[in-house]
Symmetry: C2
Subunit: 342 residues, 2 copies
């Protein structure tokens, strides 16, 4: 009975305090939401168990928001854009949560969203919830917390989730892997497209936004044409969506409506074909396997026989005294011969 | 005593037939080498055990060749180039083995090196050994066999190993991960550099060779300048090596000496700094971990409790009834609760 096994997962009964927390999230209490996210971000083992139980109980109430990733280099105007977008959406009856993925925040003290004054107007609105990046260290860790915080925000009734990230290293690919639509925020500088091509993020962009177009409208049009060329050269993931390139000025609140119209068009284009839902399912399965892979590595490294043999075999491989295949074979054999509880 | 554990790995005593095989390889007998590679490529479990034993016994005689990767799209002139290079090297006292990595060969029947007549002159020479790509299916499988075949060729006294691959998907990164120097063979077509940047292979190129430069010398110079620009923009792995861009004509045997001079210069630049050896050590450790990771996945998937729970949990995650984290946690817990031998 595989299904009964699996379907019990979401049906823990919660302890009193945690039940109150879950109820508070569902009742759209900001404090409860903030507290639940803090619980999820905690590295304490007992907190993690409780967090997973709270999350499981809220799961039926998640998934109804549209999840949008916004990436751009420092100075691209992400905060100004998100603030303008947020106000635009609130005026139209939406509720907006803004999260961040910034693996460098534990070092730098939080380069994005850390300073809430950067979104002054937005953070005073009841319809908006802004949360800086968890400072959990590794990108994988930060991403996992953010994915779970996203689910909590959905349970708290936010129907638009923005995940902000800086264009550094793997963080863009990671964010693209947790949102419905991934948008690149660019400055009207020629040559940026080459950087994006180089980093392989042209393939993952569902929309390109050229901000600060008011400063030099002519340059913005040139860059827009370059981006259209770059996107045209590459086959995008969906035959039903050609990633648009738009220009706007977040500072002057010009083009925000156009941006949102494209988001709605995207959802309308890919929902009937099943691609919208299929992307989420693929993301969930990928996420599960990435957690399994890192768990397997940990299980492997903690195994007593592996701990005993790994240093010597690593050295033997490095010195060419044994082949990588022979070493791997021996270490994998260790898993079978000794009990991990020894 | 970790070291005694590890150092015994290479010291199996071989069965009679396998001892004769290993001796034949060391005695530089072509038939023995071909037979040993066939043993390595076999998917039979008993063959694999024997192959690893033969390989382990030959390990002290490996590592003395220079390993060069040659990549290029179909039509770039790889075969003509390798043939010209091979003859050039043989005339200077070298012995040359040519292997191929082509994960598509099991489907296409072997698009590279499959037809030996493509290197007519070279394959008649005693000093050259040409072996088509193993048709093992996955890129990982093909790569593993090729790495091991490379070691056998070194034991058989070949001092130059060429690993040829087509510029498709991940195969270039894979080949760059098993050779000392990775060379891109390009046609004098403007725009090729953009493709290479897009695929992230500019970063892994240690040299760029523009072939067929005789057809349009002017275009070749333009493309050469473009490549120099592209390479200049990116910081290369070593501060002691700026990847050169050379033009040549393999058909007219022009520029082959220049190519080889660059290879020797590369080795001379990176050997005293320790980078040459460090790259090989890193490749071996990476290879070991990639075999461990795939072994762990297999161990996981074969575990009785995982086999029981995985389908239901995968479905629950897909349908949003449980979180990826909860499912991963449950499945990793399965490894601990049940014995794999149940």
């Amino acid at each position: 009975m595989q299904m009964s096994e699996a379907s019990t997962v979401g049906q823990h009964s919660l302890a009193g305090a945690d039940q109150a927390l879950a109820d508070g999230v569902l009742a759209r209490q900001r404090r409860a939401l903030a507290k639940a996210i803090t619980l999820i971000e905690s590295s304490r083992a007992d907190h993690q168990v409780r967090a997973q139980q709270v999350l499981a109980s809220l799961l039926p109430h998640t998934g109804k928001a549209i999840r949008i990733g916004i990436s751009g280099v420092p100075g691209a105007g992400k905060s100004t854009f998100i603030e303008a977008l947020g106000i635009h959406l609130i005026e139209r009856g939406h509720r907006l949560a803004v999260l961040a993925v910034d693996p460098s925040s534990s070092v730098s003290g939080g380069s994005i969203l850390g300073d809430k004054t950067r979104m002054e107007t937005l953070c005073q609105r009841e319809e908006a919830f802004i949360r800086p990046s968890p400072s959990a260290g590794s990108l994988g860790g930060v991403a996992e917390k953010t994915r779970e915080a996203m689910l909590l925000c959905e349970a708290a009734g936010f129907d638009v989730i923005i995940v902000e990230t800086v264009g550094v290293g793997q963080s863009e690919t990671t964010v693209a892997g947790m949102v419905d639509m991934f948008c690149l925020l660019q400055l009207p500088n020629a040559g940026d497209d080459l950087q994006a091509i180089k980093k392989g993020i042209v393939e993952i962009a569902d929309m390109v936004v050229i901000n600060k177009a008011d400063i030099d409208p002519r340059a913005a049009q040139v860059v827009r044409a370059q981006w259209n060329n770059a996107l045209h050269m590459l086959r995008h993931a969906s035959p039903n969506w050609a990633p648009p390139v738009i220009t706007l000025s977040a500072l002057h609140k010009e083009g925000i409506g156009d941006f949102w119209a494209k988001v709605e068009k995207y959802r309308q284009a890919l929902t009937p074909t099943g691609e919208f839902e299929a992307r989420r399912q693929r993301q969930s399965i990928d996420w599960m396997w990435s957690l399994i892979d890192s768990g397997l590595r940990q299980y492997f490294r903690n195994h007593p026989a592996v701990r005993r043999d790994l240093p010597g075999l690593t050295q033997a491989v490095t010195q060419g005294r044994t082949t990588p295949a022979a070493a791997a074979y021996k270490l994998l054999g260790d898993l079978r011969t000794d009990s991990p509880s020894e």
